[in-house]
């Protein structure tokens, strides 16, 4: 096939590079969602630790 003129080739080239960009952006969005889940888990762990410390303090007070 003869080479496409610039006007016709442009959209194909743009589409290919946009596909790459979209793929990377989707990946980053998925990673962001995972990060949110990690942050939520971290909050839960921090909550558990706080509760445990409060209970230990309470037991110490009762023992005194």
């Amino acid at each position: 096939m003869p080479a496409l003129p610039l006007d016709d080739a442009g959209p194909y080239v743009a589409a290919a590079y946009l596909v790459f960009l979209a793929l990377i952006l989707i990946y980053v969005a998925i990673m962001a969602a995972k990060l949110v889940r990690i942050a939520r888990d971290l909050d839960e762990v921090a909550d558990l630790v706080e509760r445990r410390e409060a209970r230990a303090e309470e037991q110490e007070t009762v023992a005194r």
């Binding site: 496409l4 003129p5 610039l6 194909y12 290919a16 990690i38 971290l42 762990v45 445990r52």
Partner: protein, 243 residues
């Protein structure tokens, strides 16, 4: 363990990718035969090469896992294949766009390079369901390692088989005669390849770090929750669940 050098890698991959794309559009000349549409080559070919190398790397980590029993290698293998699968989708779509622009068809079934890449992609598409189907973590890791080694060995064999095929419709980039790219095109191609390779390593380390953080958090939560008698078992997953 996995986060070391992630910041500098991220910066390097952005600089290299942006630099390579700048070279593509402002430095590399238009191809005499294909014209402007050949610019897809600097995206599609490095993407395909890095994808195939990622699959082979998955196999190498599979070997290391079977030799040492270290779960970190299983995780490395899993993530390498995972990222390669994502990039393979990109390679297939950009290749299809290039095919439409140059050959007038989105897909050509009698072209060995295209079909062999699709076969490799479909083969690796079975990797995640295979892992998900096995509940026992040890067995899951061992089976996945064997799969990654066999499939990883298939990649270069497949590559050589395509090279030996008689039809040469698909353009050869790394030709046996030293290639026929002019200097500017070669430099741009190598810059794009380097950018894509560094980006792969960055995403790989990024995913490994994220998975390791989740695993550690889960283990910590389990330890804390066990004391409070409200332990929740892990949900089934294709990804390795512990190191």
């Amino acid at each position: 363990m996995f986060a070391r050098g992630l910041k500098s890698l991220s910066i390097a991959s952005v600089v290299l990718i942006v630099g390579a794309f700048a070279l593509v559009f402002f430095y590399a000349p238009n191809d005499a035969d294909q014209g402007f549409v050949q610019k897809i080559f600097y995206l599609h070919v490095p993407l395909s090469i890095v994808t195939l190398c990622g699959f082979v790397a998955g196999g190498i980590f599979g070997i290391r896992y079977l030799m040492t029993g270290d779960r970190a290698h299983d995780l490395r293998s899993y993530v390498a294949i995972h990222i390669s699968l994502i990039l393979a989708v990109g390679a297939l779509i950009t290749g299809s766009i290039w095919a439409k622009a140059s050959w007038g068809h989105w897909w050509v079934w009698d072209e060995p390079t295209l079909v062999s890449f699709l076969i490799v992609f479909l083969l690796y598409a079975c990797y995640q369901p295979l892992r998900f189907a096995i509940e026992d973590p040890g067995r899951q890791a061992r089976t996945a390692a064997v799969f990654s080694i066999v499939a990883g060995a298939f990649v270069p064999v497949n590559f050589m088989a395509v090279r030996l095929a008689s039809t040469f419709v698909h353009p050869r980039v790394l030709g046996t005669t030293g290639g026929s790219m002019p200097g500017e095109m070669r430099l741009t191609f190598l810059a794009a390849l380097a950018g894509m390779a560094v980006m792969f390593v960055t995403l790989w380390k990024y995913e490994l770090t994220s998975k390791q953080a989740s695993m550690r958090l889960r283990a910590l939560r389990r330890r804390l929750a066990e004391d409070e008698d409200r332990w929740v078992p892990d949900r089934r997953s294709a990804a390795p669940q512990q190191l």
